[in-house]
Subunit: 478 residues, 2 copies
Amino acid sequence: MNILYTDDTICAIATAQGGAIGTIRVSGKEAITITDKIFTPASGPTLSGRKPYTLTFGHINGENSEIVDEVLVSLFRGPHSYTGEDSTEISCHGSSYILQQVMQLLIKNGCRAAGPGEFTQRAFLNGKMDLSQAEAVADLIASTSAASHRMAMNQMRGGFSRELSQLREKLLHLTSLMELELDFSDHEELEFADRSELSQIASQVEGVINGLVQSFSVGNAIKNGIPVAIIGETNAGKSTLLNALLNEERAIVSDIHGTTRDVIEDTMNIKGILFRFIDTAGIRETSDTIESIGIERSFQKLDQASIVLWVIDSTEAETQINALKDKVIPRCEGKKLILVMNKCDMVNNAEQSDCLKEPSGATILTSADSGMNYEMISIAAKQREGITELQKLLVKAAALPEVTQNDVVVSNVRHYEALSHALEAIHRVQEGMSIGLSGDLVSQDLRECLFHLAEIVGGEITNDEVLGNIFKNFCIGK
Amino acid sequence: MNILYTDDTICAIATAQGGAIGTIRVSGKEAITITDKIFTPASGPTLSGRKPYTLTFGHINGENSEIVDEVLVSLFRGPHSYTGEDSTEISCHGSSYILQQVMQLLIKNGCRAAGPGEFTQRAFLNGKMDLSQAEAVADLIASTSAASHRMAMNQMRGGFSRELSQLREKLLHLTSLMELELDFSDHEELEFADRSELSQIASQVEGVINGLVQSFSVGNAIKNGIPVAIIGETNAGKSTLLNALLNEERAIVSDIHGTTRDVIEDTMNIKGILFRFIDTAGIRETSDTIESIGIERSFQKLDQASIVLWVIDSTEAETQINALKDKVIPRCEGKKLILVMNKCDMVNNAEQSDCLKEPSGATILTSADSGMNYEMISIAAKQREGITELQKLLVKAAALPEVTQNDVVVSNVRHYEALSHALEAIHRVQEGMSIGLSGDLVSQDLRECLFHLAEIVGGEITNDEVLGNIFKNFCIGK
């Protein structure tokens, strides 16, 4: 591994703009001496003469002996720091003018402005954490729900790494047995005994890797939100419903630009579960050609969803359901479908009570596709009636298993891909053993499996491109 | 002074949302014990058993023995802390979810969520700083230019307080001499000797207070920006000019909602000087009645400005200047007037070179009002030609004196008002002495002068309403 530019001293503003307090981090072999150049303690020795894990009050000296700020400096010495290097943290008043001035002074005295995630990258390069733990730092900062927080916390604290380490031990044991078999390959009776033990171990390994691969669908839903498509004709009230849903919970809607994700769609946290709403173009009742194009586009988006909200105007329920049911129903297989009978306030009184009791679409749909498993709810999106009930249905439809901080759940696409490759390799190992393939060929697949597991935690095999991709989406100062 | 609720322990998130690091402050007599309840050090004793000014790594314990975050806790013991009370600062990963969880745990264990500025208010109530220093904390955080930063830093570090303290000593000396005079009022020869010394001291005091009052125009311009009105007919290019000015410097335009100010208009920092642009409605060439209403409205805003940019369409310079000059010129007395000849690219070539060398409005205006002191510049706002030159003219027109960190400049309206009252009182003292008013009457005015000076630094005379007004505009966590 090419140890990228870890020889210099980096600095970055680690807090967002606009608070009462702003913190600047400095890390590298000159961190303490450079900080000493711009900082005068209110009393006592300079930082170089102080113990680590102490705080020192004093001021930052600007040019022309002006005082830039009164600050508190935290002192750390490698390897007992986040990065594993000598580090300081300068806690200033939260003025961007002051923070910029302090940054300029640090740079003038020999620091370099850190890139995204460079502190965590150094922590990884200096052996303070493995790659999956480093990735969890970004996930932790981006976490917006109890479940995503739990997953990231377990991963950051090494839960996933321990699981992988146990797998690695088992695989190494398997490999050594395989090689033992190779050494004694003349003794046929020895081979048969080993092969039985080998396939038992391989089967255990396969089970664990398979479990991890399977956990990704849950992990991904927790991290990025359960994808919910809202479909329906344009006049059915799709936008009104989306607004009603989002406004209800606007306070906890996350607009944070992902540290590990690119762009986030409208997401909403309902009872600790993150939902991600997929915008589909309303299906218009125009000429047949245009309509089918509109339907096709919406349906492509629908395919990404695991929950589908089909919004229907209650005043023309039959027409709308009949117009789309043959196209909607087949596409919803394997998904949770919720029929949202909107505008139930606009149905006349007699009908309305019916509508609330047993929505008019029920029989239509049941007769159309009796095998389809769906829920139905009547709402009035504009008046925000029934929204809470709809949210309950969404939570029920999400049906995510409870994740505790002890559960290892894969939520990272890179890990998922590496595990999938590892799973393929272990399958080849099992297949090879079942058809009596020679030990050296099986051994190759075992090594490939080990390689893919090692990719996750990183190390000597990790190249700069992989590192670059991982850390470029971190925030500055982390 | 009613010591407002300083008996409980407060907590607040002190950093803005979205950074790599988030900090929670805790202050009050239970700060350390409450933090201990939710925090487990990675090794060693609990916080209660540790020395102040140390950092401890460990984790925050949530419910069901879940780990909320791995954190660093800073420890302070009163009176050696910002608030003067026992305090901790919990440095977490910058996730709003985590910060909210930690806040909830603190509150569940006996903390109260702090109001705006409550930490600084406690620092004041506990005698760590006077009121003018407390106010400077908010100014420091809001500072966006070198000059506003210098003013706030001087005030926070007690420069203003020292000046006031010297004034107070002089006034107390004067008062004691006056009372001495009262005691010996039978001895006429003694009185005359004293009166001469008294008026000398009173004159010194008057000089200092007057200087401080006068400095407010500079201080206010530095803090809130130099008010610049852009006037002109709607088709003259007023909006284009404003956009050109702002876009040029968009990167350093401040959108921070003031901690001590209410709403900030469009402001721009040019070469370290803050300008505040006052929007005036364009004067329309419609019927006479409407036009005059439009002019009146714009002129009311013009009155607040110290610099006036009069934007004129070069292609109809004569008409536009003649239409408004009789109304503009008299209102610009005491202000800096800059004639901005816009659209100079649209004048034909021969004229254009004229326009650039000597703008066509020059002679017109000079003949109209020969005594008026003004500058003139040709620009093409749409093409952004001449904008840099216009900025130079603005900086020149600003003509702010250089402020150093040793200069005491008043920038706070509350201080300005108190000083103005103090000035009136000292004037009455001087008047009383000159007309030979009896010592006890003069003494009353001296005490009033002292009272107004004391209002600035605060103390026993400060009531809750004043405190409330000062701290309500602080940010939370400060």
